[in-house]
Symmetry: C2
Subunit: 317 residues, 2 copies
């Protein structure tokens, strides 16, 4: 059994807990958290070093910038770690930091698992390697963006909000048909926002504030709906997500091929956790083989993800 | 530069030749063939041992049962090899044979690359590892089956023929919607055959012979069209193919997720060759790291497929 510790108990931590319970080859040791939890497996993060010998691997479930960037390096000095660090702009910096520490401490950090980065990174790499002459397209959604939803909630007069990122069918279909198009994420997606406003709020002003919000909404077609809290709770509280990775290119230099990978997820953190668990199994196996430092999904041979024996795997290859 | 020898010069061998020419990190040494070729790179297969020191890896492009099953073990005694051995029922036997020889000879055989087995095997494994509670569905097509086309050409009165395997939209859509269905390949696909018949042939009899052909057509809905040779040549001589792998299951034990991977290929051998080339790069790198015996796509960490440096890869992870 692989003995897992969870660090952080938000949405992802809760999903990882469920995933461990479903896994026949894993045991949950403790859930480490800064804030006290009413949970039989709770342990204060301050006491984590006492579990050094009891944990094979920690799964870091905090937020990338606020938590993991600081926690990862410290924890790696005493534990093997896995995280879904997803700030693309900082992955390289984080990788090198973790690689150095892991090599010194003889520990392994598998970083940036999940679906993007993670499975999508894998598919982008495979597509590019097989069709070096071509173009890669990533679409996100239809799915809830927590960041955009929160940004809308911060607007004066907004009580609650859910924002969907939605790929534009007409762009998706052109890519799927094998066209190589000039790809602008702003034109390939639209944004749909469901807003619960205060009773006397100026809805026109809220809509304007959303549509002109820099970085988040400027440049996108954005549709704003005002609905009641009841409706929002009923229809827009699921953390659905997904997306598409396409590689369109010339096979063997001459014939057009389209490789498509897509995810349709009822619950984003549950699926991210499911990815984490498969990669936790791989990290455990690779550590046993002597690997240390930092690695990513690009370093993991697929066989390590499965709990089946290699004989069973090639039986149904 | 990775020095490649091609063994066999049918459709796949020709596509591999094109793919090597497009690869910046590979050189073609010779095309080895039993039959004399009018080609500047031709060399008789009988003389292949003379090239032992000049070739880093042989790509075996013959047919699985007739050629590779016999050639692979012999060639592996003196060369590293890669093949697209695709007789699923015999892969395990072939694997063990190659593994033993490779380990003795200090050579590496990467077997069964391509797209099925190959990329599809990869996707099936990844899907199962991430969603252990679920079901895997593979659809083939729309694509030309060389085996079925040849089987039709063998019927009395048939001059030429092209057979398409076609996934049924209604089954595909149910799977894509996340349903877990009872999957019968016979009911998930239909077969469409374009036949050029001899002038006085009994078309009813030919159609009957096709539809009742055991193993190939019995159990499938099959549509037969009689057309002229000109039409067949104009519209049905492209080796289009593709397919779909789905994994539908419960992420973290509780929420439904759909993972879809699909290929839409203008030319089947060109794409298989493009896969072979990326995996040839991986085999070369793994051999350098000391790997020997037999391996499959399940043993290959994705980073080895690319000619980019690891630093570049994580830059765009």
């Amino acid at each position: 059994m692989i003995k897992i510790g969870i660090v952080g108990y938000g949405n992802l931590g809760k999903s990882v807990e469920k995933a461990i319970k479903e896994s026949l080859d894993m045991d949950l040791v403790k859930i480490f958290s800064r804030r006290k939890l009413d949970h039989e497996s709770y342990e204060s993060l301050d006491n984590i070093l006492a579990y050094k010998e009891d944990v094979d691997l920690l799964i870091l479930c905090g937020s990338s910038d606020k938590d993991i960037m600081a926690q990862g390096p410290k924890l790696l000095e005493n534990f093997n770690t896995l995280d879904s660090f997803d700030n693309h702009a900082k992955i390289k910096e984080y990788y090198h930091m973790m690689d150095e520490i892991g090599k010194k401490a003889n520990k392994l950090a598998l970083i940036s698992t999940g679906w993007d980065p993670g499975l999508f990174s894998l598919q982008r790499l495979i597509g590019q390697a097989i069709l070096p002459q071509g173009a890669t397209y990533t679409f996100w959604g239809k799915g809830v963006s927590q960041g955009h939803s929160a940004a809308c909630r911060a607007i004066d007069g907004v009580i609650d909000s859910t924002q969907y990122t939605i790929p534009r069918d007409e762009v998706l279909e052109r890519v799927r048909a094998g066209e190589e198009i000039e790809f602008d994420p702003h034109k390939a997606h639209l944004r749909e926002v469901f807003v619960v406003a205060e009773e006397n709020a100026d809805k026109g002003k809220i809509e304007e504030a959303i549509k002109t919000m820099p970085d988040y909404f400027v440049g996108y077609e954005t549709i704003v709906h005002f609905i009641s809290q009841e409706e929002l709770n009923k229809d827009h509280k699921e953390m659905v997500h997904g997306g598409y990775v396409f590689r369109n290119g010339m096979a063997s230099g001459s014939t057009r091929s389209v490789i498509e990978f897509s995810l349709d997820l009822k619950n984003n953190p549950d699926f991210t956790a499911a990815c984490d668990i498969a990669y936790a199994r791989a990290a455990y196996a690779l550590k046993k083989e002597g690997k240390k430092g930092a690695i990513t999904v690009l370093d993991v041979a697929p066989k390590y993800l499965s709990f089946k024996s290699y004989e069973d795997l090639i039986d149904s290859i």
